[in-house]
Symmetry: C2
């Protein structure tokens, strides 16, 4: 079974409270483009993500707002920032890393917000991939084996594997490539 | 005038001598995909690029072979490697940086090989962009000004602006976006 690959750049999800500190009271974010998962989109807005070691000046805000603020970075990004974020599911933020987040209206030092997203496959039951939600599987690229890929199954999900830029570089994968799931 | 953007990942061009050390005598590289510039292509093969600070395990080899070996990295890559490569035209390698290059058949410490490619626009006379070869121009993204963009004019060139991943992130540009040249 072939599954399309989506490569995620570093990005941030914001909760309403942090969004208002960074962008102002009741700020309305502007959609830049839809993502492949239904209802998810990239915003025009960016924030600065920084530590005492390094700064990424334009990190894309993703919409819509969530219950939690979460910064997702790659291993290379983490090494530049000088932090050691755990590899996690979205929303699993206990004991994750802290970074500075700066917007046009304010700046916050946010603890327990920064993770490396685990490699995962979004799918729904109708895709009949032969695995269940939370299973951890191995996939094949053209010439490599990639393990520790987490299945995320939900009725609203669209079949696609998400990996970060470091994984993409190391496995020779680009946006729109396909991997094989056995 | 709108011009399409191509975002370059870190990559390497090889001369025949280095290619033979890294991959073996008369090794024939396999084409992975054509690039937008005619005759240029990405190979299936990758090398390891490293310093005493960091390692990129799968850096794409570009074809065809050139007269010189050249490693092109972004500012973020350079910071991870702990080196300070100059911003240059392709082939302008005097006093550029040194890195280790490792292939399946051998390893070389290559001095004067590593640069950050300058931001540039490939074009040919028929594109009538209103500038000449080697001119340095300013372009507009949706919401930013990008200066120090070098014009590279040649009959065989296809109109496209090339920037590296750090510039792409900082200017909010992705592969296939358009910038405006006045």
């Amino acid at each position: 079974m072939k599954i399309k690959v989506g490569v995620s750049n570093r990005h941030i999800h914001l909760c309403k409270e942090d969004a208002e500190i960074l962008f102002g009271k009741n700020y309305e974010f502007k959609k830049r483009n839809d993502l492949s998962q239904i209802g998810e989109y990239a915003c025009e807005e960016t924030v600065i993500i920084s530590t005492d070691k390094y700064e990424f000046p334009h990190v894309r805000v993703m919409g819509p707002l969530r219950e939690y603020t979460q910064v997702e970075v790659s291993l290379d990004d983490a090494n530049l920032l000088g932090i050691n974020p755990p590899v996690r599911d979205s929303g699993d933020l206990d004991n994750s890393e802290a970074v500075w987040i700066t917007g046009p209206n304010g700046k916050i030092y946010k603890e327990n917000c920064c993770i490396r997203a685990n490699r995962h496959i979004h799918c729904n039951k109708l895709d009949k991939i032969g695995y269940n939600n939370s299973d951890i599987v191995t996939v094949k690229t053209k010439d490599k084996i990639m393990d520790d890929v987490h299945i995320k199954m939900k009725d609203s999900f669209v079949l696609e594997m998400h990996i970060d830029k470091t994984d993409a570089a190391n496995f020779g994968l680009e946006n729109g490539d396909y991997i094989e799931l056995e």
